[in-house]
């Protein structure tokens, strides 16, 4: 349904006035390029839920924005049902944002937040808009009598629901959820995750579910894509990935998920933090933090290769 083919996205740090002047005077100053996304390819089939996992700064949100056409790829193509979307947002692909506080306009009433887009797209007439937004609010489990209220009058979980209602208002087929439950309490998170599952069944939606939390992704996704510093390091069916992660980074991520069945233990974390994408390490991006790193990892970028049917991983350990 949605296919990303060798998609890259580069951001440039523009030169400021002083640097421009310095360059005119002959100094060796050039624009910094950040490869936020570097040759990412994967597909999402009709009705499938794909999880996209990685630490902050790995480019997962950029992939989300590329997937729904909010950003134009520097290289490669993003196809939705075979058509290249080239940075043009498609109505059928909608995004749900992370922060339920920042993504709602504080000066708009809920019914306007939810009703604005379908009106603009001509999906409903002005007369029908009230009953339409009531229906949407009901669908996400909010009392329609709240529709004249403003966002600040709602709790975090309710706001997340409003964001979902807004995305559903234009009758999408594909939802990109960017850390949609990260800001919520565990108990509220469970309610919203259940809502996502119900909606998928009821409306036949397809999801790209972006999260840093492998526990959350496990619950929804059939297939999981793991990213590190702009590159895909592993793609695997969820059950297999959680049972036996192949890439050392996936193993490390899984080990860090806090679980109830882990009794008192000594935390043995992976070392260091994700490096700056301004100066990524050579070869395999993960080698400075990897316990299995060898000489080859410093020089050679590992290619994604099939390690089992429907399962790829980018690691030199696989031969």
């Amino acid at each position: 349904m949605l296919a990303l083919d060798k998609v890259s996205k580069c951001f440039f740090k523009r030169l400021d006035a002083v640097e421009k002047l310095a360059r005119k005077l002959g100094a060796n100053v050039s624009e910094h390029a950040v490869h936020a996304v570097d040759g990412v390819s994967f597909e999402v089939g009709q009705g499938e839920v794909v999880g996209l996992v990685g630490e902050s700064g790995c480019g997962k949100s950029t992939v989300g924005r590329l997937a729904c056409g909010l950003l134009e790829p520097s290289e490669g193509t993003v196809r939705y049902k075979g058509a290249d979307i080239r940075g043009i947002p498609v109505r059928a692909v909608q995004m749900i944002f992370q922060d339920p506080f920042a993504s709602l306009n504080p000066r708009m009433r809920i019914e306007d937040i939810v009703g604005e887009a379908p009106l603009v797209h001509g999906l409903v007439s002005k007369k029908e808009i009230e009953s339409y937004s009531c229906e949407l609010l009901q669908q996400v489990g909010l009392d329609p009598s709240y529709r004249r209220r403003y966002p600040h009058q709602f709790s975090g979980g309710q706001r997340a629901r409003i964001g979902i209602a807004r995305a559903l208002a234009v009758k999408p087929e594909f939802l990109v959820c960017d850390e949609a439950v990260a800001a919520l309490d565990v108990s509220i998170q469970a309610q919203v995750l259940n809502l996502f599952m119900d909606l998928r069944e009821r409306l036949g939606l397809t999801y790209l579910f972006i999260s840093h939390d492998l526990g959350v992704v496990r619950h929804l996704a059939r297939r999981v894509v793991v990213m590190y510093l702009g590159r895909v390091v592993e793609i695997a069916p969820a059950a297999e990935l959680y049972a036996a992660p192949n890439h050392p980074y996936t193993q490390a991520l899984l080990a860090e998920v806090p679980r109830l069945d882990k009794k008192r233990r000594v935390f043995a974390p992976i070392k260091g933090e994700i490096p700056s994408p301004l100066a990524p390490p050579s070869g395999c991006h993960f080698h400075p933090r990897c316990p299995h790193a060898m000489e080859r990892c410093v020089h050679e970028v590992p290619a994604l290769r099939e390690v089992a049917p429907g399962r790829v991983s980018a690691c030199h350990l696989n031969g």
């Binding site: 630490e55 902050s56 709790s155 975090g156 979980g157 309710q158 309490d185 565990v186 108990s187 509220i188 998170q189 469970a190 309610q191 995750l193 259940n194 599952m197 840093h212 939390d213 492998l214 526990g215 959350v216 496990r218 619950h219 929804l220 996704a221 059939r222 059950a239 490390a252 991520l253 080990a255 860090e256 998920v257 806090p258 679980r259 109830l260 069945d261 882990k262 009794k263 008192r264 233990r265 000594v266 935390f267 043995a268 974390p269 992976i270 933090e273 994700i274």
Partner: protein
């Protein structure tokens, strides 16, 4: 060492007086790690602030006591409290930018903290700061000391905040969701550092969080808070594997990693009630599947649980 008894913290609001902490009793001993778990609005953060005497008007500690080694802290004059806060009891906040001043270098902020409680030379204070940064696993602390908060990543900032909290080797550390805003890998590192530091220094640690799975591997004992009250308290083992309060059961069922496959999560219906409009009797009554006529009266804390129909 730290004893809290029947602590009540009130806030005067337009809708009347709201009791954010409502009769909480806790004890924590040397080298012990206590997890305080609850949803947003359960009063867990206000409990932390109350211990440190950081509740500002319109809030106030209405009754109850907070004792550190037998010495009463609740109602202590500000001047005396300042000698205890930061020195004997320290706090780590959720957002490290709440602790760090963005326009001062890390050195200025750390040295200031050292000199606030100890009359030593500036040079010694810098040495102490370097030592503290080393302790929390920050590489090349001499160089890092000269930098400003914006030059640190989120995880590094939190480490600095922890280093500042640990400067005076406090006897009690209160950590208010310090890893909630961080990635799982960095969360793992911070949990590891905190656990190690507490074990090494013998300090008591109160870890406040909404996520039971975080305290599972960390805490010795767990207290579950709901609507300002502790509804269940016990060893981590007891609370996690044999929960007695329906609310604790609900929280445990909500953890996605605790459920296998893509089944529906067993969620707790509804949401935390507003403290200004609490239901009569047991505050969890309206969301509870076991509730009956008995629940219209407030249950007492018996056998580590505050419930008329305890599980197990």
């Amino acid at each position: 060492m730290l004893e809290i008894e029947n602590l009540v913290t009130e806030f005067a609001t337009r809708d009347g007086v709201v009791r954010a902490v409502n009769g909480v009793s806790l004890q924590i001993g040397k080298g012990e790690i206590l997890g305080v778990v609850g949803e947003s609005g359960s009063g867990k953060s206000v409990l932390g602030y109350s211990i440190l005497g950081l509740v500002d008007p319109p809030g106030r500690i209405a009754s109850g006591s907070v004792r550190l080694d037998g010495r009463q802290l609740a109602g202590m004059p500000d001047e005396d409290m300042r000698h205890i806060r930061g020195k004997r009891i320290a706090m780590v906040f959720q957002d490290p930018m709440m602790t760090l001043n963005p326009v001062l270098s890390i050195e200025t902020q750390m040295v200031e903290t050292v000199l606030a409680h100890e009359g030593i030379s500036r040079k010694l204070a810098i040495e102490r700061s370097i030592e503290a940064l080393n302790l929390v696993g920050i590489a090349s602390p001499e160089r890092r000391l000269k930098q400003y908060p914006h030059e640190f990543s989120g995880g590094m900032r939190q480490r600095v905040a922890i280093a500042i909290a640990l400067l005076h080797r406090p006897e009690v550390v209160i950590a208010d969701e310090p890893t909630t805003a961080l990635d799982v890998t960095v969360q793992g590192q911070i949990l590891y550092e905190m656990q190690r530091l507490v074990r090494e220094s013998g300090a008591a640690l109160i870890w406040i969080t909404h996520d039971l799975s975080v305290v599972a591997g960390l805490a010795d004992r767990v207290a579950v808070m709901y609507a300002g009250r502790i509804v269940e308290q016990g060893t981590t083992q007891e609370v996690l594997y044999a929960p007695r309060h329906p609310y604790t059961r609900g929280l445990l069922d909500s953890v996605p990693a605790n459920n296998e496959g893509s089944a529906r999560l067993r969620q707790i219906p509804g949401m935390t009630p507003s403290l200004a409009r609490l239901p009569e009797g047991c505050a969890f009554r309206e969301r509870c599947s076991h509730a009956d006529a008995k629940c219209f009266s407030m249950p007492e804390m018996t056998n580590r649980v505050r419930c008329h129909h305890p599980l197990c």
